[in-house]
Symmetry: C2
Subunit: 398 residues, 2 copies
């Protein structure tokens, strides 16, 4: 019996686990320290009242014989119509028309990002931004694929563009980007779509942070460009808008027009999900649909405002310190240059031990992340304010 040999090519531990382990070890050695965690992108505001009310209602339906729901509807690959209607309407507001059959409800963007890998041959080359959310890289390494990188740096505004002469079959884009917070404009995204349609590449577009976009010229969906339905899959999530990091619900769009190697990818994904997945809780889906109600939308807007206030607070602090950064305006993440040429992990350790603030070491997101750190706007106001004060105290010059 042989183990998948590609596992040995992975780093021992997943970045986020590593940060949590180091943090826990520090806390254990210094039980008196009041740590503030602005590393992992977990939300801190609770679920909205309309979402919770809808979940209560759904749980009550599940308790009665007449309204109990078993396996999800087969027709839409386990997605309930109420949620699919809401998602169709959301896309329509962005000027994108989708059929219900093109929207697949799942237990989250992370699962879909990884599981989509099943559809592609190991022979493909994956083009992955560097730095980037490590799950894309790890999933492709697990599948035995060669990975090449699209380097993001201050020089290209952390927004790598297509390069002629670099073969890329699977192109991973994340906009607004995790970790850099940089977001593609519609015009820039159009270049990627044109590139994919010209070369036959497939774009895997992670839109998990689209709701944070404030600038009108930036894209909120890859389908806001021309020709994207012929070359792109879009993955999105309720985690960062409705606060579903612990509830688990996402959705993936696989357009019917997307054909590669003679195969309709919509069919392949349905076949994959029918074989290795069985849908998302009726209670969760009902809650997710309620996030699109009038009250639900108002709740989401309030949450976005709250997190944006954090982003503004951190931005102001960094400006006062004279430390260069990107993100924060159209993203919940700020991507910050470590002061005085420090390495990412050294700075992580210094912030942890001297300021008791946990940030994310940039090098964990890829080679080009070395010398940077990521800080999130998902904390509570009080914690964020105090973290800024501690950071200022630690890093103020002279």
């Amino acid at each position: 019996m042989q183990i998948n040999p590609n596992f040995s090519r992975l780093k021992e531990s997943y970045l986020f686990s590593q940060v949590r382990e180091r943090t826990a070890a520090y806390q254990k050695a210094h039980p008196e320290a009041r740590l503030i965690t602005l590393s992992i992108g977990d939300v801190t505001l609770p679920l909205g009242a309309s979402v919770v009310a809808a979940m209560h209602g759904a749980a009550d339906e599940m308790a009665k014989r007449e309204t109990f729901k078993g396996y999800g509807p087969d027709r839409y690959c386990y997605g309930y119509e109420s949620l699919l209607n809401a998602l169709q309407a959301r896309y329509a507001r962005l000027g994108v028309s989708l059929k219900k059959e093109e929207i697949f409800v799942s237990d989250g963007a992370k699962s879909d990002c990884g599981n989509l890998s099943d559809l592609f041959s190991a022979e493909n080359i994956a083009l992955i931004p560097d730095p980037v959310y490590p799950a894309y890289y790890d999933a492709n390494v697990m599948a035995g694929r060669k990975v090449v990188f699209a380097r993001a740096s201050a020089e290209n505004g952390f927004l790598p563009m297509p390069q002629e002469g670099v073969r890329a079959d699977l192109v991973y884009l994340c906009s607004p980007n995790n970790p850099t917070g940089a977001a593609y404009s519609k015009a820039q995204l159009q270049e990627w779509v044109d590139y994919a349609n010209r070369t036959g590449a497939l774009i895997l577009y992670d839109a998990a942070y689209e709701a944070f976009v404030r600038d009108k010229e930036l894209a909120r969906s890859v389908y806001q460009t021309e020709g994207a339905k012929e070359c792109a899959i879009e993955i999105c999530s309720f985690s960062k808008t409705a606060g579903f990091t612990g509830v688990r619900c996402g959705y993936t769009v696989v357009p019917e027009a997307l054909v590669r190697g003679g195969a309709r990818l919509n069919r392949l994904w349905k076949r994959r999900q029918n074989t290795k997945f069985n849908g998302v809780s009726y209670i969760t889906q009902t809650g997710a649909a309620a996030a699109f109600s009038e009250e639900g939308e108002r709740d989401i807007a309030e949450r976005l405002t709250y997190y944006r206030e954090n982003a503004d607070m951190i931005s102001d602090c960094l400006r006062r310190l004279g430390i260069p950064f990107t993100g924060g305006k159209n993203s919940p993440y700020l991507w910050v240059r470590c002061p005085e040429g420090e390495s990412s992990w050294d700075f992580f350790e210094r912030m942890l031990s001297k300021a008791n603030v946990v940030v994310m070491p940039g090098s964990g997101f890829g080679e080009s992340g070395e010398g940077y750190f990521r800080i999130t706007a998902f904390g509570r106001h009080g914690d964020t304010r105090e973290a800024c004060e501690r950071m200022e105290k630690l890093l103020k010059k002279g």
Copy 2:
């Protein structure tokens, strides 16, 4: 960009979808027909009161800032301790001692059965019972693995045993079996475990129906045999006990003692889940834990009794008709010989059109299933009784 070429080796549509499509087409053509569906193994009794109460409580926690939960606990790969404690206690009652780190909570047995495939090389040969739940076969074909079959027939009591000289790296066992309802005794299972430890094979043991076992000598967990922790992964589910088909929660045991090719499979699975999965709703896990409370256990016992009454009703009907069958006693499924040498799909069509009863064509579960059909005990009493009456009317001789 190349598609995974193995998809073309799969049948166009997943068995269960196919049955639903044919049924829907019949209903459309005969809107007046009152169809009774005893095909898919979906439960019909609602969630228990204690489970629903726990879910309400958890939803309320998610609504308050102080008690809101984001991403699940990293330590146990997203499983909450309350649920893991309950699962440890469940195994202890079976005489099996497990560490929390060995139990992985997931969104269901089907997901785990499929996703575990990521851990193994494409070079392995999978041994899969025939007939069997089609997801094992499809997942291995998708991964490009060669599949060999362990044939189940009336001759071996539908319980294939290890065969020397047949190379098998991954051995899929499902007991009580879906679809045949046959269940291994502890002594028989010991033979499989000894075989795997002798040859270095890995057993993937699907225990989704273990709660239906009534006979004391039959196994309820593979770990009730000696040496299983060195060779077996066990997959289990809340679907058929607590009625979670639409709630989605399962668990997979990967013992720390399980080592293959120098790698600890527990570590590999944790790495896989950390990369491509993000846990199960806190609300769902809280509900699942409540299924093990005193009231929850009582609810489950009542549900089992209800479904067993269906199984007994169908068994009596088949005996009166003189039609040979297996299962039903220790399983929610009955595996029945089609009368008069009819093929599975012919009998499916005859039952659909003449009795308006939907059964599962046995050939959909594999070659050896030809000439059989599966009928489930998960229906409502009234429907099951009427289905038996219609079946008797249609099939009574003379």
